[in-house]
Amino acid sequence: MSFWTVMNWVAWGLCVLIVILIAKDVMKVEMKQSKTKD
């Protein structure tokens, strides 16, 4: 497995990580906002 093949997987992994980070924060914010409205 070449270096760049590994780096491709690392790039995909970072994409997943960022999506998770954003999704976690968005869920936290949206839940807080829906509680505030209630």
Binding site: S2, F3, W4, T5, M7, N8, A11, W12, L14, C15, I18, V19, L21, I22, D25, V26, V29, K32, Q33
Partner: protein, 466 residues
């Protein structure tokens, strides 16, 4: 008690929907040049395929005149409108809701396509390192990373843009110096083959004009930062005009270096012309430097585009032209997070296509339509508010000449786009027509005209003739 509750509610609402004022002239310069500098590193060279290398530089300077005029009129109108939204905010007050909706949508797609093109080039240039490199994960990673940074806050992203833009500009200078152009005997520039003339005659210049826009497209984005400027009247004109001068100098250097080092046939189809020019020097250090410069300029541009597109989308939602669900700021970061995230999949989808010239063309088409409306707005603005009727941070000289120049050159460029991108023109017009029909039939009934015009109505006297 009721009055105190109203005051508190108004303050909270004000806090909810207004962006923080943290930007100075350097930030405005970075926002403008940072988005645009990537045009030196990619995209402009497709004009060589349309008009030859001579046609390309003529297009560059001709469109430079268009942008000088555009900056003048944009800056005057932008200096009196203390809201995020740029030409969109101007269209609100000078043209009405339907035109404002279209201008906002055109601005959004101008920047979304540009950020997709930036990410596309990042993926393509990484592929030059090894055939094992897949472009898609890097395209998506670039967009995700910058989206996340914008999600977290504007000041940090624009500070980063200052650094990225500065480094990218320096790499162009390094390439220029590396060619030893100043030495009569040692220059590596092939002056005799600098141009291949006008292979398609004067009509070729018309076809090249749209790619001349690519050197400067997005500089008008500085007006989108108006709401976040500490001093709009100073930061906006100083930042925008200095930015444009930077770009004209950079564009000429770029054309000279690339045309002098790379044959026109190769240059006309290159995804990264400056990097190809650096490779032609056969100096690995310069090659690496331009590799870094291309990457950083693409990232800085995409960064600015994400900021600008989301602010335009947010402004439209705040003004009820789009569903209010997008008009919410993040409680901690004070960023339009829903607008930022909504636009992300659109840019990823276009970046995924891999069709750089098609993506660029749609961005340019959107921008040209905005410029036509901007020119019309300027003429209307001066009639509604003659000089002296309201305070202006900047007054465009020789009115209406700049507006007429913008109108004329934009129409000529659109005509030139017909040569090779006729389908793109039809598709673009069809898209905006369908969007307008949606707005009139479905969205207009939700429009709150009072809040739509409240800021201007509170600040300005009644326009002349109204």
């Amino acid at each position: 008690m009721k009055k105190a509750d109203d005051i508190i509610e108004a303050a909270e609402n004000s806090k909810d929907t207004h962006l923080s004022k943290v930007l100075g002239p350097l930030h405005v310069w970075a926002l403008g040049v940072g988005i645009v500098l990537v045009g030196q590193f990619m995209g402009w060279n497709f004009g060589i395929g349309k008009g030859g290398s001579l046609g390309s530089i003529i297009a560059c300077w001709t469109i430079g005149i268009l942008y000088i005029s555009l900056i003048m009129i944009n800056t005057e109108m932008g200096s009196v409108i203390p809201e995020a939204g740029g030409q969109y905010a101007m269209a609100k007050y000078f043209l009405g809701p339907l035109a404002a909706f279209n201008v906002g949508l055109m601005l959004v797609f101008e920047y979304v396509m540009l950020e997709a093109a930036d990410a596309l080039v990042v993926g393509q240039i990484l592929k030059t390192l090894s055939p094992d490199v897949q472009t898609l994960p890097y395209i998506i990673l670039s967009l995700l990373l910058l989206t996340y940074m914008n999600y977290r806050g504007v000041h940090a992203t624009l500070n980063l843009n200052i650094v990225l833009t500065g480094i990218a500009f320096v790499t162009i200078i390094i390439l220029l110096v590396s060619t030893k152009f100043y030495s009569a005997s040692g220059s590596l520039i092939h002056l005799k083959t600098l141009t291949n003339g006008l292979p398609y005659g004067w009509m070729g210049i018309l076809g090249a004009l749209q790619f001349g826009c690519w050197f400067y497209l997005g500089i008008e984005g500085t007006a989108l930062a108006a709401e976040e400027c500490r001093s709009t009247g100073r930061a906006l004109p100083v930042g925008a005009i200095v930015g444009l001068v930077t770009l004209i100098i950079g564009a000429t250097i770029t054309w000279f270096v690339c045309s002098g080092l790379v044959g026109s046939t190769i240059l006309a189809n290159s995804t990264y012309p400056l990097y190809d020019a650096a490779l032609a020097l056969q100096n690995p250090v310069v090659g690496y430097i331009l590799f870094i410069g291309t990457m950083l300029s693409c990232l800085a541009s995409a960064n600015g585009c994400i900021a600008d597109a989301s602010r335009a989308w947010y402004s439209m939602a705040r003004d009820t032209l789009l569903p209010k669900v997008f008009a919410v700021l993040h409680p901690r970061y004070n960023t339009p997070y829903r607008a930022i995230l909504f636009l992300l999949p659109i840019s990823i989808a276009f970046g995924f296509t891999g069709l750089l010239d098609q993506v660029i063309t749609f961005s340019i088409l959107s921008a040209l339509l905005v410029y036509i409306l901007t020119a019309y707005m300027m003429i209307k603005f001066r009639k509604m508010y003659p000089l002296g009727s309201i305070e202006r941070g900047y007054t465009a000289p020789w009115h209406p000449i700049p507006a007429i120049i913008v109108l004329a050159l934009t129409c000529v460029t659109l005509f030139g786009m017909y040569f090779g991108y006729f389908i793109n023109i039809i598709a673009g017009f069809a898209f905006y027509l369908l969007a307008s029909i949606w707005f009139v039939w479905h969205r207009a009934k939700f429009l709150d005209i009072k809040s739509f015009l409240s800021a201007g109505a509170a600040s300005w006297p009644r326009p002349k003739g109204y």
